[in-house]
Amino acid sequence: MTWIAKPAVHHPALPKNTLGLTRRDYEGKISTLCAGCGHDSISAAIIEACFELELPPHRIAKLSGIGCSAKTPTYFLGAAHGFNGVHGRMPSLATGANLANRELVYIGVSGDGDTASIGLGQFVHAIRRGINMLYMVENNGTYGLTKGQFSATADEGSVSKGGETNRYPPIDLARLALDMGAGFVARSFSGDKEQLVPIIRAALEYPGFAFIDCLSPCVTFNNHEGSTKSYAYIREHEFQATDLVPPREEITVSYGAGERMAVTLHDGTQLQLRKLAEDYDPGDRKSALDLIESHRRRGEIVTGLLYLDSSHEDMHARLNTVEQPLNAVSAETLCPGAAELENINAKLR
């Protein structure tokens, strides 16, 4: 953690996107998380993805619950409105916000305590509703702010910093998201920027509920020998299932022997995907579930974009709402008026 303020002056040679904005324009306040925290890498990846996608920062809304993860929206996209709500309830705030204005881009940041324990109900129902948002879980398997208790994503047998062994099986949020019908499910690792930035980009472009379970080691409470959420453990046990190819980059042979596929989403967005696992179809939910399970049995953590539904319907499609944001529909349109009220009175006589 640092108290040093960021310099207000930007280097004149910083590259700009077509909006005339530099990466610095996508940053937020300086982080107060522990030095080396995985969450800061995720914030940096969000900044990079939004810069690359040339999203106007003020057209993004950032929402979070409570916990270390919930603090991070302060550290990216300072020109965007942010909402740090109550513990485990970010999904309901995001539902309401999205219903009020479907034109903004919604980034919800949560943690494993916030999503897998106190907010599990809200999480699954947010998926069922199909909110058009990026739902990012910064998953470190531990309660950081309250100093190191196991969370519900901690693996059975994982050892805490104090030497206690976790006796309960973990909740795999990616599997849960698949089961609940999320249209976009990915797992990534805060320590792998090359993989994470393209996944965040794709999630932001995805016109529906896009879930990323991002393993994000807690350097203070859960990065030791015996933890299954440490940098070292994840690096040793990661199995990468897919690789997202940046759209403007030409696909070359140097990408290796994996099978390439292009997916066109129903809003026209194209995603280029390179599949690294055999006998696996990222467009098939069962196949994705099988892949996660078969590697779990081998002690491996599957990462990458795991599942993509190209015909997913978002909440507004299900509710048949108008194109115009509901917060911008005029009072004249919304109010049926005095004459109509007389008709209503007449029917009640």
Binding site: P56, P57, H58, R59, A61, L63, P73, T74, G78, A79, A80, H81, G82, F83, N84, G85, V86, R89, P91, S92, L93, A94, T95, G96, A97, N98, L99, A100, N101, E103, L104, G121, Q122, H125, R129, H316, L319, N320, T321, V322, E323, L326, N327, V329, A331, T333, L334, C335, P336, G337, A338, E340, L341, I344, N345, L348, R349
Partner: protein
């Protein structure tokens, strides 16, 4: 001596729930209304779908008394389970209409009431299935009552025509059942009874509607676009009515798409979260719930209070504590709603007393929530919300526009207008806010439930934190200026006064008349809102004794008056009614007289010693 007489009587239909009695009973109630007579209909139903006793009470009162009277002149006893109790419930001199297909147990007889037996089951034998027999049996007793109470038969058949518009082949068998009942009654009894109806012109342009429908319609007129709710009696019909009205009034004619979004959430925690998220983002949004839901929403209500997000909530109160009696009424959520959430929180409450006021205060709730940037809770109850009331018609002024409060738009930000989220720039303790996405470089802020200073920045600094908390207290003083003023309902310079609100209003009006006949005059003030305005405290200060009437056990309004206004407890006398049925004028008259008698004894004893 029986209470009932021409155009002043109470009938109660005792049925088994789930047998279609509701449509027969509403037909009956509406028939009196169509004859120009004020009615009050109270449905006393179990928390159950089928098979348990349910009662529907209709009070006809030419004098316009639409509170519950308490006693009953005629019971239609159609439920063997409750038969014994139903016989006992008839006022001496009254009547019991029952099915005489099977002979009445002589032990059940009462000499002081008249038993009117008709073979209802025999009358419906021509129908082959049991369900139809049950339905038509109900219509048969309506037919019998039309003879006994002199209900105009054309009115009944006219109502059937309206109800079965589009399903005309249902009209004939219903009319047949009505006639069968009517003819049987005419043949068997000396019709009509002394308690009977005669056409008058006393309902004017009044409408028949429930408070929940009225609240829902108010939300439509206020411009609410996002509703989130979780099913809970007695508020469910409010959310459903909103959906019903929106489907009719809010579908864009060109695209066929909805200018509204309704989310049936996974629980009340989520429902209020959706409302707060939508309101934060500039839409008008609301939820409807009952006491248990308010408990669940408390954490989020604290966030909305502290982060200053407009939030509209309808609390249709029911009998607590805990699950309590979910289908019975109370006014027992005052404290849990006014002070919902941990820490120093206070919320604005509104108290409608009639459906037209439900409509008006629903609209007002949105304006107040936007203006004050805080939760506003409309405190209805089961009696008001779910029962059908004779109400003044709804009114709307087409020049009325929503008050969206202090919101800076793009142009104001562009012009360089200063913006700090929690800064009081003009002394009303209400800061400005901006909607997300308004301006590329100005107006963004971070909303949080954690400690913040007047500029909206995170703080753990005592002085900065406290400065903001003190402004919030001052904002509540502004609220007291803005909320609807109390209504003086009776003013004669009496020594004693009475304070009440919500569904106590109608019985209290009747009680004031009854007390005046006994020579007791009270000044009467009806509360419409919390925080209480100065008029409320002045009313208490200028009366020697003030009765505080509420439908709960713990005198919650009394507590609030003492806490908020520093009133002298010796001045306030609580009259409490909390059995779960609506309070009656009879109870109020008796309670006031008993208190005055005991106070007189007391002072006489004091003078003698």
């Amino acid at each position: 001596m029986p209470t009932g007489k021409l155009n002043e009587f109470v009938i109660r239909c005792a049925n088994v729930n789930g047998t279609g009695s509701a449509s027969a009973n509403t037909l009956l109630a509406k028939a009196f209304y169509r004859m120009g007579l004020p009615i009050a209909a109270k449905n006393m139903f179990p928390s159950n779908i089928q098979g348990l006793p349910t009662w529907y009470e209709i009070r006809v009162s030419e004098a316009g008394h639409t509170g519950r009277r308490g006693s009953v002149d005629l019971v239609v006893a159609m439920n063997p389970q409750s038969f014994k109790d139903d016989i006992a419930s008839v006022e001496s001199g009254g009547y019991l209409l029952h099915d005489s297909t099977r002979p009445l147990d002589p032990a059940m007889r009462r000499d002081d009431i008249t038993f009117l037996g008709l073979p209802f089951i025999e009358m419906v034998q021509q129908h082959d299935d049991q369900r139809k027999r049950l339905l038509f049996k109900n219509i048969c007793y309506v037919g019998a009552l039309s003879a006994l109470l002199d209900i105009e038969f054309d009115v009944l058949t006219g109502l059937l025509d309206e109800r079965f518009k589009g399903k005309e082949k249902l009209i004939a068998p219903n009319v047949e059942a009505l006639e069968a009942g009517r003819e049987a009654a005419l043949a068997a009894f000396d019709c009509p009874l002394p308690i009977r109806a005669e056409r008058r012109d006393t309902v004017g342009d009044g409408i028949l509607v429930t408070g929940n429908e009225a609240c829902a319609l108010g939300c439509v007129y206020a411009g609410a676009t996002v509703a989130a709710w979780y099913p809970i009696t007695p508020s469910t019909s409010l959310a459903e009515a909103f959906g019903h009205f929106c489907t009719k009034l809010r579908v864009d004619p060109e695209s066929g798409r909805n200018n509204f979004a309704i989310v049936q959430a996974e629980d009340e925690l989520s429902a209020i979260g959706v409302v707060i998220g939508a309101s934060w983002n500039g839409a008008r949004s609301f939820t409807a719930t009952s006491g248990p839901g308010v408990s669940l929403m408390s954490e989020f209500l604290g966030l909305a209070y502290y982060a200053e997000i407009p939030t509209v909530l309808f609390d249709v109160q029911r009998a607590g504590p805990s699950t309590g009696m979910p289908t019975r009424t109370q006014q027992a959520d005052l404290l849990s709603a006014a002070y919902a959430s941990h820490g120093d929180t206070k919320h604005v409450l509104l108290f409608p007393a009639s459906p037209d006021e439900c409509f008006e205060l629903a609209v007002e709730a949105f304006d107040l929530a936007d203006r004050l940037q805080t939760p506003v809770i409309v405190m209805s109850d089961l009696d008001l919300g779910m029962n059908t009331w004779l109400s003044r018609p709804f009114k709307w002024d087409d020049t009325r526009r929503p008050d969206r409060g202090k919101v800076l738009d793009h142009d104001e930000l562009e012009a360089g207008k200063q913006f700090y989220r929690y800064l009081d720039v003009d002394g009303d303790a209400i800061p400005y806010r901006t909607y997300p996405g308004t301006h590329p470089s100005r107006g963004a802020y971070f909303t949080r439930g954690s400690g913040h200073d007047k500029y909206g920045a995170y703080t753990e600094d005592s002085a900065k934190y406290q400065e903001n908390l003190d402004r919030l207290r001052r904002k509540f003083d502004t609220a007291a200026q803005l909320v609807p003023k109390p209504v003086m309902e009776a003013e004669s310079g009496a020594e004693a006064g009475v304070l009440y609100f919500g569904t106590t209003t109608e019985p209290m009006r009747e009680a004031l008349e009854g007390l005046a006949k006994r020579g007791v005059k009270l000044d009467a003030m009806r509360l419409l809102a919390f925080p209480f305005s100065d008029e409320v405290y002045r009313f208490i200060e200028t009366h020697k004794t003030v009765f505080v009437v509420e439908q709960n056990r713990d005198a919650q309004l009394h507590t609030m008056l003492l806490t908020e206004g520093g009133m002298d407890p010796a001045q306030l006398v609580s009259l409490l009614h909390y059995g779960g049925l609506p309070v009656t004028a009879e109870f109020l008259i008796r309670s006031v007289l008993e208190h005055l008698a005991s106070a007189a004894d007391h002072s006489a004893a004091g003078a003698a010693s």
